[in-house]
């Protein structure tokens, strides 16, 4: 441990960490561009200059390890002047087109130029531009505007050190240096969009989010990605019940600063028709819109004299939903089972190790733990639901296999079929006897258990669409209808 004084605050930090990290311990921010806690240190941007007592020149905070007894000044006149000078250099060629830049609002360069930039420029020459490189698609997800780049090499180091694919490199030299991909080798790897997070300018932006919304107009909710069982921590950016983007939320033990592209853009699946009202199959075999009361009544009737019942839970359920479902179905006397599709494997890098996501649901482990020794769902899908009186599917998306007509036919062999779904276009919706509107994952509150056994919280970003309610509420309503009301009337 080293005792250092940073702007008069004495803090005790680990020996050998750099000044930027040490200052964090004292809650002091050292402006920087090229330094990134999960990438190697290159000391390229010179924005992080700090004064260390006893050293003649200002030191780069990212490349200066702390020693016991160091006295560091992050905010004084000398440092301030250096920073202003550095900013002036960086802004010589930067277009400062913040009004039409997607990064504006969360852009370190914009923030620092607000703090340190001059209102007018002393630079009389033309700005350097990169003709033809101002909206280049350098990969399926990433659009590059080279004019905005400040040559910090974060993106290059990301592809070299994290994904190991090295699609990006510096081409040419001096003032014409550009970040580029080699013709025919686009920035196309499974985590490519991460470069748009770490780019400290609007040079790299994700295609899917470009010009969708100004970032300050988005509400932000902490959640966990439901793409696979790694359970990357995310921020959901949303407004008016619509998801605009997922952004990684730093968790050094799980996803560090990263997200895979599959998970990052998985919210696009919600841009579809939603089931917003319950539906019940009428006597003339028509699946018509109903009230919640009618739907619950139909469910109650179905279970009343059913002997052989089965419930398929889903790896998309939270632990709380799974417990509620388990309690309900145990009370009914129904068998329960859960299955999960294989995926990937998706590689995700935490600060210390690679995690391998192999399940296409976020919470298979949690749900199976709740169920204990469950019934075999795979068998059911293959052999058909003959002899089952009531089959309750807690989430139409429990498996991709459920979209296969053959599987649907075999599930339909159950005498009565209850389906939860938020996706109105799911083929299972059409064959259900009772269709319950389900909630998507940004509409839920609860916990997921990831592959490390870590229970992680997700929060509700907005309330479910239309008359949809969360599964938790649905199970509560059903159990009220089946048991409490029954007791009252008895």
């Amino acid at each position: 441990m080293a005792k250092v004084t940073i702007d008069g605050n004495e803090v005790e930090v680990q020996d050998g960490i750099n000044v930027i990290e040490a200052a964090k311990a004292a809650d002091i921010h050292v402006p920087h561009f090229c330094y990134h806690p999960s990438l190697s240190v290159v000391g390229q941007c010179r924005m992080c200059l700090v004064e260390v007592e006893g050293m003649a020149k200002l030191q780069a905070g990212c490349a200066t390890p702390v020693k016991d007894g160091m006295k560091i000044h992050v905010w004084n006149d000398k440092v301030d002047k250096a920073r202003r000078g550095q900013m002036e250099f960086l802004l010589i060629n930067h277009p400062l087109d913040c009004p039409i830049c997607d990064k504006a609002g969360e852009c370190p360069l914009q923030d620092y130029s607000f703090n340190y930039g001059n209102v007018d420029s002393r630079y009389g020459e033309f700005k350097r531009t990169y003709p033809g490189m101002d909206r280049t698609a350098i990969g399926p997800h990433v659009i590059q505007n080279m004019n905005r780049c400040i040559h910090c090499t974060r993106c290059i180091r990301f592809t070299a050190e994290i994904t190991g694919t090295s699609e990006l490199a510096f081409f040419k030299r001096g003032a014409s240096t550009e970040v580029g991909v080699f013709p025919g080798t686009p920035l196309d790897n499974w985590m490519s969009a991460c470069v748009t997070d770490i780019c400290p300018t609007g040079a790299l932006t994700p295609r899917e989010f470009r010009f969708e919304s100004r970032v300050w107009n988005l509400d932000v909710t902490e959640s966990v990605c439901n793409g696979c069982d790694v359970g990357c921590n995310i921020f959901i950016g949303h407004r008016n019940g619509q998801v605009y983007r997922y952004r990684p939320r730093v968790n050094p033990d799980v996803n560090d600063h990263w997200l895979c592209d599959y998970g990052r853009f998985s919210y696009e699946q919600y841009e579809t028709d939603r089931v917003v009202v319950p539906k019940v199959r009428t006597e003339d075999d028509y699946l018509g819109i109903s009230t919640w009361d009618e739907a619950l009544e139909a469910i109650g009737r179905a279970y009343r004299d059913a002997k052989n019942t089965f419930a398929i839970l889903s790896a998309q359920m939270t632990n709380e939903e799974a417990s509620a479902a388990k309690a309900l179905f145990d009370r009914i006397g129904s068998r329960t089972g859960v299955m999960v599709d294989p995926i990937g494997p998706i590689k995700m890098k935490s600060r210390t190790e690679w995690l391998l996501g192999t399940q296409a649901g976020p919470n298979f482990r949690g749900v199976s733990k709740v169920i204990g020794d469950g019934a075999n769902v795979d068998n059911l899908l293959t052999n058909g639901a003959d002899g089952i009186d009531v089959l309750y599917i807690c989430d139409a998306l429990f498996s991709e296999r459920a979209k296969d007509p053959a599987v649907i036919a075999s599930l339909r062999k159950a005498k009565f079929l209850i389906v939860h779904s938020w996706d109105a276009n799911h083929p299972l919706c059409d064959v259900a006897d009772v269709l319950i509107p389900g909630a998507i994952h940004p509409e839920k509150e609860g916990t997921y258990t990831n592959l490390q056994g870590r229970e992680q919280q997700i929060h509700q970003a907005f309330t479910p669409k239309g008359q949809a309610i969360t599964d938790l509420d649905t199970f509560r309503r059903i159990s009220e209808r089946l048991f409490e009301l029954a007791e009252v009337s008895a």
Binding site: G132, T136, E167, A169, F170, F171, R173, P183, G184
Partner: protein, 176 residues
């Protein structure tokens, strides 16, 4: 994009031709193996390998970038980053005689531009261009480190010092 850079073999929409087979001839392969033994890592052998490739093919084409990348386990972007950093790797085919006229300070004050302009006019090429017969390429280069004998013209790997227009003409007579 391509129309902005009509003669750039590396324009973003001109992909390396997968049908073009690129491989070192036997003798070059032997030299490559020897180069590898001289460096602690494969990556470190990049510069000499590129020099070797340039010697074999005269320039570094996109296909060669891929080939060298494969040889050294480097991505094509990394290799091209190095190729485009150094002026002495040719990114376009050059003529049989690569006439590199130094126009940096010492050479400039000793009238290097006379030689340069004369060459361009006589061979009717644009600055940096190659004659139609593929014999000469004329380029302007920075200090060749031989200021004492300025002006200097480098032809392929040889220096021709204390040049002037007359001497240049005489030299052209020999280079055919």
């Amino acid at each position: 994009m391509a129309d902005l850079q009509p003669d750039n073999p590396y324009a973003p929409d001109r992909f390396p031709d997968p049908n073009k087979h690129v491989e070192f001839p036997e003798e070059a392969k032997k030299r490559f193996d020897w180069i590898l033994t001289r460096y602690p890592t494969k990556e470190a052998a990049l510069l000499p390998t590129l020099h070797l490739a340039q010697e074999v093919w005269g320039w570094i084409s996109p296909e060669v970038v891929h080939y060298v990348g494969n040889l050294l386990d480097l991505s094509p972007a990394t290799v091209f980053g190095v190729v485009s950093f150094y002026n002495m790797y040719n990114q376009k085919p050059v003529g049989k005689y690569h006439l590199q006229v130094c126009t940096n300070l010492s050479c400039m004050v000793t009238r290097a531009y006379d030689i340069y302009d004369h060459l361009c006019e006589k061979l009717s090429v644009h600055p940096g261009g190659t004659t139609k017969d593929g014999l000469y390429t004329v380029v302007e280069v920075e200090c060749l480190g031989s200021c004492g004998t300025a002006p200097v013209v480098q032809v392929n790997n040889d220096y021709h010092e204390s040049m002037d227009v007359v001497k240049m003409d005489a030299l052209l007579e020999i280079l055919k």
